[in-house]
C-alpha cells in the first residue's frame, strides 16, 4: 500500500492525518481510493476526470508527467503539490 502525504489544507478531510495509506497502481487509482476513504478528496484533485492543471504529483521524489496513469508502487510515497511555472 502506498502512502499519500496529505496537503495541509486538506487534512480536515482525513481527520487531521498527515499520511494515509492507499491502494492503487497508478495516480488515478490512488485518487479513487482516497475518495473512497475520505469523501470529497477527488473534487480537490480532478477536473472533468483529469488531474487539475494546477496540480503536480510527486512519486518517490520523481515529478510525474501530469497524468492519472503515472505508476505508483506499493512502497511509494505520493505528494500532491501545486504545479508551478517559471520565468
Amino acid at each position: 500500500m502506498a502512502i499519500v502525504v496529505v496537503p495541509a489544507l486538506l487534512r480536515p478531510l482525513t481527520g487531521g492525518e498527515e499520511r494515509v495509506t492507499v491502494a492503487g497502481r497508478n495516480v488515478g487509482q490512488v485518487i479513487d481510493d482516497l475518495e473512497r476513504q475520505f469523501p470529497g478528496f477527488r473534487d480537490h484533485l480532478l477536473q472533468q476526470g483529469e488531474l487539475k492543471p494546477s496540480i503536480a504529483v510527486s512519486i518517490d521524489g520523481e515529478m510525474g508527467t501530469g497524468g492519472l496513469l503515472d505508476r505508483v508502487k506499493d512502497s511509494s510515497e505520493v505528494f500532491f503539490i501545486p504545479a508551478i511555472g517559471g520565468g
Binding site: V57, G61, I81, I84, G85, G87
Partner: protein, 777 residues
C-alpha cells in the same frame, strides 16, 4: 564533465565557447524583431487605456473615431467573445481564460491604470492615436485598492464580486470556500505544514521575527510587446510576435477568439528579452480582431509607457517570518506568512514563493501560509524564478540575523543546515541529487569571500536561493544535409543563446563542428510542440530532445554506413566523426556518408519529442551570492563594490552563456534590491512609466560580476545539465541587505533599499543611539 548515460566518453564541443550562431545578425542589425515585420497593406493598431485604477465603464462611444479619416476599424470589449472560466494548462502556465480575456480588454469594469478599453486600426499609428482621442468613455470611478495589506482588510473595496476566498490544495483549485460565503480580494490560500512548530520554537535558543515588504518590479525586457496579425482566404490566422512561447500564444489566442488551435499559426520573431514577461498575451487577440474587421494585416507595438502600465510586473509582497535556532546553529522551527499581490486578476506566484523559500535548509518543524490577493494593479506575469526572490529576501535576512545571534559565520550557519539529497522540500517531496552544499563551499572557498573588506561604511553579505528546473514538452528535428552540414530545428524561442547550445549538443553527438550545425527556431506549424521558453528549461529539456534527435539521426546514419560498408548495422561503430567496422575498410567520415544519402535511401532526419514532466521533474538549482557594498551615510546611497555568485549548473554546455545567465540574474537582483519600484499616486495612477524614472541598474552601477560555476551533474539528464536561467536572481537582495547592515548597522526590511529608506534607517539609528547615550549619562 560527467556523461551520465555513458554515451560521450570525451566531449569535443560541450564545455567550449564557440561564437553564437545568431551573434553577427544581432550586432549588425540584421536580426528581425517583431516591430521590424511589415506586410503589404498593413495597418497600425493602438490601444485606448483606462486613466483610472478602478472604475465601472458606463458607456463607450466610438462613432467619432470610426469616422476619422484613415481609420479602418475600432473595437471594444463587445467585439471579443465571452470566454468561460476554463483553467488552461499551458505546461508552465495555468491560466484562467475568462480573466485573461478581461485583461486583454476590459468589459464592464477597468481594474488598473492602463487597462485596455478600446483599440483602433488606421493607416499609420499617428492617425490611430488621433482616433483614440475621439473615443468617449464614461466612467464611474471607484476607490483603488493598491496593496495586499489594504486588499485583505475586512472593509476593503472588492475588485471582483464573484471572487471568494478559497481553501486550496493548489494555487487555482476552486475547491472549498474558506470562511463565510462573501466577496473577497483573497483569491487563494495554500499551506505547507510539517512537524511540531511549538516544540521547535521551544527548542530554540534564538528566535528572530520580522516583517518584510517588497515592491512590485518589472522584468525590464528592452523590446516592447508586439503582434502582427493577418488572415488568409480560408480564415486561417497567422500571428508574428515577440514571445517566449509561440505554442502558448496559439493556445491562448484560440481561446480568446473561440477558434480551433489548428486555424492559427504563430511565427516567433527574434526576441529582445522577456524574463517571464512574454509568457502570456496582450496584443495578439486585439490585432487579430482588428485585422478581421478591417480586412487588412494589423501590427501593434506597445510603447515603453504601455509596457510599464499594462503588462505584468511581478508581485509586491508582504511577509511575516519567524525562525528559531539552537545555540549550535541548527534551525529548529520556521513559520512564514506571505501575501502576494496578483494585480487585477488571480494568479500571483504565491505557490512557488512558498515552495522555494527555505528550500536550502533542513527544517523539521515548518508552517508556511501563502495568499494570492487581487489589487488594482496590472495582472502580474512571470518574472525569473517567479515568487522566489521576494520570499528568499525575507527568509534569508532572518537566516543572516540568526547566524549573527548564534555567533556563527553566515556561510557556516547555512552549511550546518544545508539541504542535501533526500531532504524534504518545503512542499514535502524529497530533493534528488542537488548542489546546495557545493555552492556554499564554492562561495566560502572563493577568493572574494576569503578577501578582506576594508574601509569605512563598507560591509559584506551573503545569501542563498533555490529554484526549480522546468521539464515539460519539447520537440526537435535534426536534418543531415548532403554536404555534411546539419540543421537542428526546435520550436523553443531563443532568449539567451539556446540556439548555440542546441547546435553544440548536436555537434557533440554527430562528431561535427558547432559551426557546421545551423540551429533554427520554427513556427507552430513547422515543428512538434514546444512549451514555453521559461522555467530554466530550454537547454535542459529541449536540449534533451535535441540530444535524442541527434542520436536518432546517428542510428539512421549507421544503417546507411552499413549498406556502403557491406556490414550489418550493429557492426558499425561511430567515433571521432567517422563510421568504422572492426577490421573493415577505412573509416568513413560523416561528410563522405552524407554525400551518399541519396543512393542509400534518401534524406536522414532525426526526430525526438518528449514530455520531461512537471516543473521540478528534471532537476533543481541552487545559488549563493556574496556582495560587498559601500554606504554613503549622508545620502543613503549604496554602491556595489563587488559581487560574486556560485551556482550549481549541472554541466555547462557553453560556459560563457551560463556565466551570462548568472550575471544577468545577479544584476537584476541588485537592481531589485536597490532601485526598482512602481510609484503609484493616491488615485492609483503610475507615476514612473518610463525608464528614466523606473530606475534599472546600468553598467555604470555595477562592477564586473564574478561567477563560480559549480558542476554537480543532474542525474535526470543524459548530459548532467541543470537549468541555469533563474535561481541567480533569488539570493542577491538579502545579501545586499546584510551588507548594508554590516556597513552602517541598520537592517532594512523593505525593497527597494533606496537612498531614502537607507538614510531614514541611518537617522533613526543615530537618534536611538543618541537617546541611549543620553540615558546612560
Amino acid at each position: 564533465m560527467t556523461d551520465t548515460n555513458g554515451s560521450l566518453k570525451h566531449s569535443r564541443v560541450i564545455g567550449t565557447r564557440p561564437i553564437r550562431h545568431d551573434g553577427e545578425d544581432k550586432v549588425t542589425g540584421r536580426a528581425k524583431y517583431g516591430a521590424d515585420y511589415a506586410l503589404p497593406g498593413m495597418l497600425h493598431g493602438k490601444v485606448l487605456r483606462s486613466p483610472h485604477a478602478h472604475a465601472r465603464i458606463k458607456s463607450i462611444n466610438i462613432q467619432k473615431a470610426q469616422r476619422h479619416p484613415g481609420v479602418y476599424a475600432v473595437i471594444t470589449g463587445a467585439d471579443l467573445p465571452e470566454v468561460k472560466g476554463v483553467m488552461a494548462n499551458l505546461g508552465e502556465l495555468v491560466v484562467n481564460t475568462h480573466y485573461l480575456s478581461l485583461n486583454v480588454m476590459a468589459r464592464d469594469k477597468v481594474l488598473y491604470d492602463g487597462h485596455a478599453v478600446a483599440a483602433v486600426a488606421a493607416v499609420n499609428r499617428h492617425i490611430a492615436e488621433e482616433a483614440l482621442e475621439l473615443i468617449e468613455v464614461e466612467y464611474e470611478v471607484l476607490p483603488p485598492v493598491m496593496t495586499a495589506e489594504a486588499a485583505m482588510r475586512p472593509d476593503a473595496e472588492i475588485l471582483l464580486p464573484e471572487l471568494r476566498r478559497m481553501r486550496m490544495a493548489s494555487r487555482v483549485d476552486p475547491g472549498k470556500l474558506e470562511g463565510p460565503d462573501q466577496p473577497s480580494n483573497v483569491a487563494g490560500h495554500i499551506q505547507f505544514q510539517r512537524g511540531d512548530l511549538a516544540a521547535g520554537f521551544a527548542a530554540a535558543d534564538f528566535v528572530v521575527e520580522r516583517e518584510f515588504r517588497t515592491a512590485a518590479v518589472h522584468q525590464g525586457y528592452i523590446e516592447p510587446q508586439n503582434a502582427l496579425a493577418v488572415w488568409d482566404a480560408r480564415d486561417h490566422l497567422t500571428i508574428y510576435c515577440s514571445t517566449q512561447g509561440s505554442f502558448n500564444v496559439r493556445t491562448l489566442t484560440a481561446s480568446m477568439l473561440t477558434m480551433a488551435e489548428g486555424q492559427i499559426r504563430v511565427v516567433p520573431t527574434e526576441i529582445g528579452g522577456g524574463f517571464g514577461g512574454k509568457t502570456t498575451i496582450y496584443l495578439e487577440p486585439l490585432a487579430a480582431v482588428l485585422a478581421q474587421k478591417s480586412g487588412r494585416p494589423v501590427k501593434m507595438t506597445m510603447t515603453r509607457g504601455e509596457v510599464l502600465r499594462a503588462t505584468g510586473p511581478t508581485s509586491g509582497t508582504l511577509f511575516r517570518v519567524k525562525i528559531g535556532a539552537s545555540r549550535a546553529g541548527k534551525i529548529t522551527a520556521a513559520e512564514v506568512w506571505m501575501a502576494y499581490e496578483a494585480g487585477a486578476f488571480p494568479g500571483s506566484p504565491f505557490a512557488p514563493g512558498a515552495m522555494t523559500t527555505l528550500g536550502p535548509y533542513v527544517i523539521e518543524n515548518l508552517l508556511i501560509d501563502t495568499f494570492d490577493v487581487v489589487v488594482n494593479r496590472p495582472k502580474v506575469a512571470a518574472y525569473r524564478a517567479p515568487g522566489s526572490p521576494a520570499s528568499a529576501f525575507a527568509c534569508e535576512c532572518v537566516i543572516n540575523e540568526l547566524a549573527e545571534q548564534c555567533g556563527i559565520d553566515p556561510v557556516e550557519f547555512r552549511l550546518r543546515n544545508a539541504s542535501q539529497e533526500g531532504t524534504p522540500q518545503p512542499a514535502g517531496p524529497p530533493f534528488k541529487k542537488i548542489g546546495c552544499v557545493e555552492t556554499l563551499e564554492a562561495l566560502r572557498d572563493g577568493e572574494h569571500f576569503r578577501s578582506q573588506l576594508r574601509g569605512a561604511h563598507r560591509g559584506r553579505g551573503v545569501a542563498s536561493g533555490f529554484w526549480f528546473n522546468g521539464g515539460l514538452q519539447s520537440s526537435a528535428d535534426v536534418n543531415i544535409h548532403i554536404d555534411g552540414t546539419v540543421s537542428v530545428v526546435t520550436g523553443s524561442v531563443d532568449i539567451g543563446g539556446s540556439r548555440t547550445a542546441m547546435a553544440m549538443i548536436t555537434a557533440e553527438v554527430l562528431g561535427v563542428e558547432s559551426r557546421d550545425v545551423r540551429p533554427l527556431v520554427a513556427d507552430t506549424d513547422a515543428i512538434g510542440h514546444n512549451d514555453v521558453t521559461g522555467g530554466s528549461r530550454i537547454t535542459l529539456a529541449t536540449g534533451m530532445a535535441v540530444y535524442n534527435a541527434a542520436h536518432d539521426a546517428l542510428r539512421q546514419l549507421k544503417a546507411r554506413a552499413a549498406i556502403l560498408l557491406e556490414k550489418a548495422p550493429e557492426e558499425v561503430e561511430f567515433r571521432d566523426g567517422a563510421f568504422y567496422t572492426p577490421g573493415g575498410a577505412a573509416p568513413m567520415p560523416l561528410k563522405q556518408l552524407a554525400a551518399k544519402l541519396i543512393s542509400t535511401g534518401g534524406p536522414v532526419t532525426g526526430r525526438a519529442s518528449l514530455n520531461a514532466g512537471a516543473v521540478g521533474a528534471v532537476g533543481n538549482a541552487f545559488a549563493s551570492v556574496c556582495v560587498d557594498v559601500e554606504v554613503d551615510p549622508e545620502t543613503g546611497k549604496v554602491r556595489i563594490l563587488r559581487a560574486s555568485i556560485a551556482q550549481d549548473v549541472g554541466r555547462a554546455i557553453h560556459p560563457s552563456y551560463v556565466e551570462g545567465q548568472m550575471q544577468g540574474g545577479l544584476a537584476q537582483g541588485l537592481g531589485w534590491a536597490l532601485n526598482e519600484e512602481y510609484f503609484y499616486d493616491e488615485r492609483g495612477n503610475l507615476r514612473n512609466s518610463g525608464l528614466l524614472d523606473y530606475r534599472m541598474p546600468t553598467c555604470l552601477d555595477l562592477p564586473m560580476l564574478e561567477t563560480l560555476l559549480v558542476e554537480v551533474p543532474n542525474p535526470s539528464h543524459p548530459l548532467g545539465v541543470r537549468g541555469v536561467g533563474e535561481v541567480n536572481i533569488v539570493p542577491p537582495m538579502a545579501a545586499v541587505a546584510e551588507a548594508i547592515y554590516k556597513a552602517v548597522g541598520v537592517r532594512l526590511t523593505e525593497l527597494p533599499m533606496s537612498p531614502t529608506k537607507v538614510l531614514k534607517a541611518i537617522m533613526q539609528k543615530r537618534q536611538k543611539d543618541e537617546t541611549e547615550m543620553a540615558a546612560a549619562d
